[in-house]
């Protein structure tokens, strides 16, 4: 009796909520996949088809070749990877400084970093446009990399300083006593322990750059320089939407994020959970 009750409890408190949550999360992805593999005529047909009756890869071919997703994908990758590299280097170093050193105005500096996160992105568009126009960087991925880096660094610096604070200072000191220089202690002692934090920060930054739409649209005046979200939005005209190609494009856009999460999942959970404990 007791076992039966325990089973019911588990079902009601664990499996049922989890199944509901999973269905809620998975359904849009399932529907996107379902749409991506349907021929155009079947997409809005009634009764609805819950599985493609005439499956086709035509939408993927259209999205990749005709609509130019290959170019958008490449552009997004360049912007995403470059931003992650710059953000990781800068935020690790500045996070280390914030965590390990005491200096005048440190608290105010942290507050200023946080305050930058409250500035609405839309307010920055025209000043950014003017700056990059004067620098000759409109329609240049560099303008996006610089902007995304500037937007991401304050938050990731605070994030990294938290991770670094969790690495006991004594470990570094022990390494220095054993003959390491400061940089060697960082390289061989701190960084390996920081890996979950670095992965979490990298993934966080990459996902932001991968999905960002407004700034990418505003700073790009050439079709061939559009990133994926901007490219995807051109699939939705005022009077027409190519649902098939849009769904196929979304699946294509999902792939790197899914691969990244699958690879980084373990580190990400550790990283978000607070890295190493002392």
């Amino acid at each position: 009796m007791f076992t039966a009750n325990k089973k019911v409890d588990k079902l009601l408190t664990l499996y049922l909520p989890l199944t509901m949550l999973l269905s809620f999360t998975i359904f849009p992805i399932y529907w996107t996949l379902n749409t991506a593999f349907k021929p155009e005529g079947d997409i809005v047909k009634r009764p609805l088809q819950y599985m493609p009756i005439n499956p086709t890869t035509e939408n993927f071919v259209t999205a990749w070749t005709n609509v130019g997703f290959a170019t958008f994908f490449k552009n997004s990758l360049i912007v995403g990877v470059s931003t992650v590299l710059v953000v990781l280097v800068c935020s690790t170093l500045s996070g280390y400084a914030l965590s390990r050193y005491q200096f005048k105005g440190k608290r105010s500096f942290m507050i200023m970093l946080l305050c930058t996160q409250f500035i609405p992105r839309a307010m920055m568009i025209i000043p950014l446009f003017v700056i990059f126009k004067n620098l000759g960087l409109i329609s240049n991925p560099l303008s996006l990399i610089i902007t995304y880096t500037a937007i991401e660094i304050p938050f990731t610096t605070i994030l990294m300083s938290g991770f670094i604070s969790n690495v006991p200072k004594e470990l570094e000191e022990a390494a220095v006593i054993d003959g390491c220089t400061k940089l060697q202690a960082l390289r061989f002692v701190v960084f390996p322990l920081l890996l979950p934090g670095i992965v979490a920060t990298g993934v966080f930054t990459f996902i932001y750059t991968w999905n960002e739409f407004l700034i990418a649209l505003m700073l790009t005046n050439q079709q061939s320089k559009f990133t994926l979200p901007v490219g995807l939005s051109t699939m939705m005209g005022e009077f027409s939407i190519n649902y098939g190609a849009l769904a196929a494009g979304s699946v294509i856009a999902l792939i790197p994020a899914v691969i990244l999460f699958a690879y980084a999942q373990k580190h990400l959970v550790n990283g978000m959970g607070g890295a190493v404990k002392g």
């Binding site: 470059s82 649209l217 079709q223 009077f239």
Partner: protein
């Protein structure tokens, strides 16, 4: 040793990133250089063209038009930039503010007054008067474009016009033995008659989300037949006739129209019609392509919006899309050649046929496809009817669009959700228009 390795790795990473970034920049610098060098008239010229309504239906049509233009003008290269409709105005705003505009842009009529006041556009009067297209383009459409700008100049050449109408499911009407609505009373009766709970069908769908302001404004004036302003310059927005109409129109929400209407944008509204949920939808000929894909031929058609009590059709003046040349262009003559080509019989016929819009070039009217296309013919019947009344909204008010987006759209939702009365909503809308007009009149000493 380790230190050396680390230093090498750091420099390699920096160099790789630098090379990647420089690689990206090189192409752009070259493009800028080419643009400047091409300023000499005998050398190839590249024009940048922004499409304010890019999408799977229109982008390939523009690409074909551009291809045909380039074949006829081998020295002119047109670079197409498609902008999603929902962000197009913001994109133009940022470009104008930063003085980095395209050579040519497709712009909506409502934007012309604001862009001209911001001195972003080139007046096209002299080019237009000298051109053959001046005899062909619908004079009422160009007339509206002149009338709405502060200096009375022509800043945009309309290449397509539009008309609000009703798409109806003719097969359902036949099954239910219901006649097409010709008056607004009949329209409301049809909504009631076409409600079919057993089949989960509704008679009509209300646009309550993005763009609701356009729909309600055009429906209101089609009902009343009033001008936008009365003789004393006071707006008729909150006229008792409009209050009466808006009260009745929104009283059908959630009773005889779907609950989801409150967030209905274009996509949702058209999807409701195309997936067999609603019998009538208020839109324009532009959605023909979507219906054509989703519904069997002969099961739907376009009918004009119902007439006023006096039996008069009402249409909104300036419901058009235009080509404008931006002041910053270094190639005004070449840009005009493109504008002229897009407005030629050949290009307008092709573009409008493919997109389901109404041509403005009179030569296109005799084309066979116009005669065969029921939706285009219906639109022409309204425009060509001598009794059709054109009301002219004050597009010239710089706040006009902001009022529609910021006051009217949320107001529609407030009325639909019962948080505001129709009268309060229309009073608020009228006040916003009158305040804006007073400011405008004061600024330009009218």
């Amino acid at each position: 040793m380790i230190k050396k390795k680390m230093t090498t790795a750091f420099f390699a990473l920096t160099m790789a990133t630098g090379m990647l970034l420089t690689g990206c920049g090189g192409e752009e610098q070259a493009a800028t250089k080419t643009k400047k060098e091409a300023a000499k008239s005998d050398e190839p010229v590249t024009l940048q063209f922004w499409d304010e309504n890019a999408g799977p239906a229109r982008t390939p049509v523009w690409e074909e038009v551009i291809k045909r233009f380039e074949e006829k003008n081998p020295n002119i290269n047109v670079e197409y930039v498609g902008i999603p409709n929902s962000s197009a105005k913001s994109k133009y705003d940022a470009a104008i503010a930063a003085d980095d505009m395209p050579d040519i842009g497709s712009v909506q009529t409502t934007w012309l007054p604001e862009f001209s006041i911001r001195e972003a556009l080139l007046p096209l009067d002299s080019h237009f008067e000298k051109s053959d297209i001046s005899k062909k383009i619908n004079p009422s459409a160009t007339g509206v474009n002149k009338k709405i700008t502060q200096d009375g100049k022509l800043y945009g050449i309309p290449y397509a016009q539009n008309l609000d109408a009703l798409w109806i499911r003719t097969d359902w009407f036949e099954q239910a033995s219901v006649q097409e609505p010709k008056t607004w009373d009949e329209f409301f009766t049809v909504i009631e008659k076409m409600r079919d709970q057993a089949n989960n069908r509704y008679g009509f769908t209300i646009r309550g989300g993005a763009g609701a302001s356009f729909t309600i404004q055009r429906a209101m004036f089609a009902y009343s037949g009033l001008d936008f302003f009365d003789k004393n310059g006071k707006t008729n927005i909150n006229d008792p006739k409009h209050v009466e109409f808006v009260e009745k129109y929104f009283s059908y929400y959630d009773k005889l129209t779907p609950k989801s209407d409150i967030t209905n944008g274009y996509k949702e509204m058209i999807a409701g019609f195309d997936t067999g949920v609603v019998a009538m939808v208020h839109h324009n000929p532009g959605s023909y392509g979507e219906h054509n894909k989703a519904l069997p031929a002969g099961s739907y058609k376009l009918i004009p919006l119902p007439t006023t009590e006096k039996g008069q059709y009402v249409a909104e003046g300036g419901n058009a899309v235009n080509l404008a040349i931006f002041k910053s262009t270094e190639h005004a003559d070449e840009a005009w050649k493109f504008v002229e080509f897009v407005n030629s019989e050949e290009a307008q016929s092709y573009w409008n046929q493919q997109t389901g819009q109404i041509p403005t070039n009179s030569d296109v009217l005799d084309d066979k496809w116009v005669q065969d296309a029921q939706h285009i013919k219906t639109a022409f019947e309204v425009y060509n009817n001598p009794d059709t009344k054109l009301y002219e909204p004050p597009f010239y008010l710089p706040d006009y669009r902001a009022i529609l987006d910021g006051v009217v759209d949320p107001g529609v939702q407030a009325v639909m959700s019962g948080k505001m009365s129709a009268k309060d909503f229309l009073d608020e809308w009228a006040k916003a228009i009158e305040d804006s007009k007073a400011k405008y009149d004061q600024t330009f000493k009218k």
